[in-house]
């Protein structure tokens, strides 16, 4: 068999890839090719990202001044709820598994597709249908409960479009379950010959851990949404305090999903970062097996800690103690990961192209987000900063600083594989640095605001908080520029970029052994599985041609 990597990137080399397999709209909308479905997801999640981003822009404009500016109190409630609902349920939860995960999982394990390609397409339609319901409620007038839907406000009193949004989350949730199911079965059954469990790339392991959470947590959220809808529509809910309903029970149900969902929103990012750091440090990952156990550990322990969202809700003090202790526990595997990334870098031949900058940014921001998480896991500190901007800053460091950096890193790392084109590295590096600076500029002041006692979810605030809010809003402008830049240079790359060749980074991993863009069935010949993942050799001459 010819080694595809050795072929010169001629025009003929681009013939017969998954992008050229069909050019009609129907060839995209009815495709069952995991790579094309990934592209569909990239389009839809990008749309949701910018809708959620527009809401964030309104929030930052409103908070530029201490008094009521462009939004009324009620309008502000609707805007931050929209921001939360869209960003959490329609962007952060699906984004990495369904875009990069969908594209890369079969390639990385040497399979022709996922186990259930039609169900894979169905997931996309479910996520679109759910998103359409959420957008309908936005256009009809919005929803004002906050993304957490706390009862009895959401189930009885709120005079906004809770039912449509909850139905949207319910439907999209099944898209998420279908994706998780597909991934788990694919990883179990479709690994190429020789691809044993401990030869799997860590990105695949991270998708496995994520899928576990999607399968076992999402149904609880779905039922919680059913209960809210039943109470609003038929009056048969179980959270009405007049009948003895317990609002804290709702919070247990909600956070049983929504805390593990935080790990849906970070584990795939950890996988991406591992792929990038090993490649650009030219080092085998330090402690591969520990990295695997840490991923699974985070996924499992992530289910034991949800009560730390409820320290001030009226839950029993004993339960708070237990949840606090368990929350500290989850820091252990997270720390293992940070230590191992650092150890992987040690004595590596490090280069700093754009993906690496994003990945290193992830490590820094995730560490800061994780450490402030320990503040919040600790009962006395949490009671001081509950419902303040400290919490807002903490979870944005994890979700935006962490996950979005990793997503951008992954997009830059695999862009040549997905499109077959190179992009301008200098523009991309500029955007990466800009994102890191803009992010810290936006969210670090919020730690200070929270510590000083500014509560979240208010449209007005005392004037002494203004300086930090202005800093934050100014940083958001920089951050927005950093997010918009890739749209430009990626579009340029796609149209006029240089051919990438099958392996522009000289990376290991099966996805780099096939052409860029990959052919319809991924591999021309059954792929060769290397002995161990990340077989980089520092100090030796690179195998690059």
């Amino acid at each position: 068999m010819t080694d595809i990597a050795a072929l010169p990137p001629t025009r003929a080399g681009l013939h017969g890839n998954y992008l050229s397999a069909g050019h009609t709209v129907a060839s995209w909308l009815f495709t069952t090719d995991h790579k094309r479905i990934a592209i569909l997801y990239i389009a839809s999640t990008t749309l949701f990202f910018f809708i959620g981003g527009a809401a964030a822009t309104l929030i930052r404009i409103e908070l530029f001044t201490p008094d009521s500016g462009i939004l009324t109190a009620d309008g502000y409630n609707r805007v931050f709820t929209l921001h939360g609902v869209i960003m959490v349920f329609f962007f952060l939860v699906p984004v990495v598994p369904s875009t990069l995960g969908n594209f890369l999982l079969p390639l990385m394990i040497g399979a022709r597709d996922v186990a259930f390609p039609k169900i894979n397409l169905l997931s996309w339609y479910l996520s679109i249908a759910g998103g359409a319901l959420a957008l309908y409620s936005l256009l009809a007038g919005g929803i004002d409960t906050g993304w957490t839907f706390y009862t009895p406000y959401s189930s009885i009193y709120s005079n906004s479009f809770v039912t449509a949004t909850a139905a949207g989350i319910f439907v999209a949730g099944f898209g998420s379950i279908a994706t998780g199911l597909n991934f788990i079965v694919t990883i179990h059954t479709l690994r190429a010959r020789g691809m044993t469990w401990f030869r799997l790339p860590l990105f695949v392991w991270s998708l496995y851990a994520t899928s576990l959470i999607m399968l076992l947590a999402t149904p609880v959220l779905a039922m919680t949404m059913v209960l809210i809808i039943a109470e609003r529509v038929f009056g048969i809910g179980v959270f009405d305090p007049e009948r003895g309903g317990d609002p804290i029970l709702f919070q247990h149900l909600f956070w049983f999903y929504s805390h593990p969902a935080v790990y849906i929103m970070i584990l795939p990012g950890m996988g991406i970062v591992t792929e990038i750091i090993t490649c650009f440090a030219r080092r085998r990952v330090f402690g591969y097996e520990f990295m695997v156990y840490a991923l699974i550990g985070i996924a499992v322990i992530g289910f034991f800690v949800w009560g730390h969202h409820m320290f001030v809700s009226g839950q029993s003090g004993y339960a708070s103690l237990v949840f606090s202790f368990l929350s500290f526990l989850v820091a252990v595997p997270s720390a293992i990961k940070v230590f191992n990334w650092t150890a992987t870098l040690y004595r590596g031949e490090i280069t700093f192209p754009a993906p690496m900058l994003y990945a290193l940014g992830f490590v820094g921001l995730f560490t800061l987000g994780g450490l402030t998480g320990l503040f919040l896991a600790s009962l006395p500190v949490d009671i001081h900063v509950t419902q303040t901007y400290f919490v807002v800053a903490h979870f944005h460091y994890i979700m935006v600083g962490g996950m979005v950096s990793a997503l951008f890193g992954g997009l830059h790392f695999w862009w040549p594989k997905i499109t077959g084109k190179l992009y301008s590295d200098s523009f991309a590096r500029f955007a990466a640095v800009l994102m890191f600076l803009g992010f810290n500029f936006t969210f670090f002041p919020q730690f200070i605001l929270g510590y000083l006692g500014m509560p979240r979810r208010y449209h007005a605030y005392p004037p002494e908080f203004q300086v930090w809010n202005v800093l934050s809003s100014a940083g958001a402008v920089i951050l927005a520029a950093a997010y918009l830049m890739p749209l430009g240079y990626f579009a340029w790359s796609f149209l006029w970029g240089e051919r990438a060749g099958s392996n522009p980074w000289d990376a290991t991993g099966l996805e780099w052994q096939t052409a860029s863009p990959p052919p319809e069935h991924n591999f021309e010949a059954p792929p060769q599985v290397p002995e161990v993942p990340y077989d980089y050799h520092p100090g030796r001459e690179s195998a690059r041609d």
Binding site: L216, F304, G307
Partner: protein
């Protein structure tokens, strides 16, 4: 239908069905006997046994590979986490 029952291989299913119905009747009758808290416990214990019969005999889990068993166990384990930690709150109010 006669051919169905003549085959001895069908016995496990039929036996399981008889057992399930007997258990159901026992559960029903027991709930009319005043046992206090014991009523609920008996009902649930019987339901648990019925579930095991369905899962292991009728759903052929005992013949299946390790992975289906693992998946079933995962469902049970996560449900147990859900109950335990939720009740760590309600039992200690």
């Amino acid at each position: 239908m006669k051919a169905l029952f003549r085959k001895s291989a069908l016995l496990p299913e039929v036996a399981a069905w008889v057992g399930l119905l007997v258990l159901m009747v026992v559960s029903l009758v027991s709930s009319y006997v005043p046992l206090g808290l014991g009523n609920g416990i008996a009902n649930l214990a019987i339901a648990g046994v019925q579930m095991l019969v369905v899962v292991f005999v009728l759903m052929h889990l005992k013949e299946g590979g390790a992975l289906p068993r693992l998946a079933a166990a995962a469902g049970a384990f996560w449900l147990a986490i859900f109950f335990t930690l939720t009740f760590s709150d309600f039992l200690t109010r």
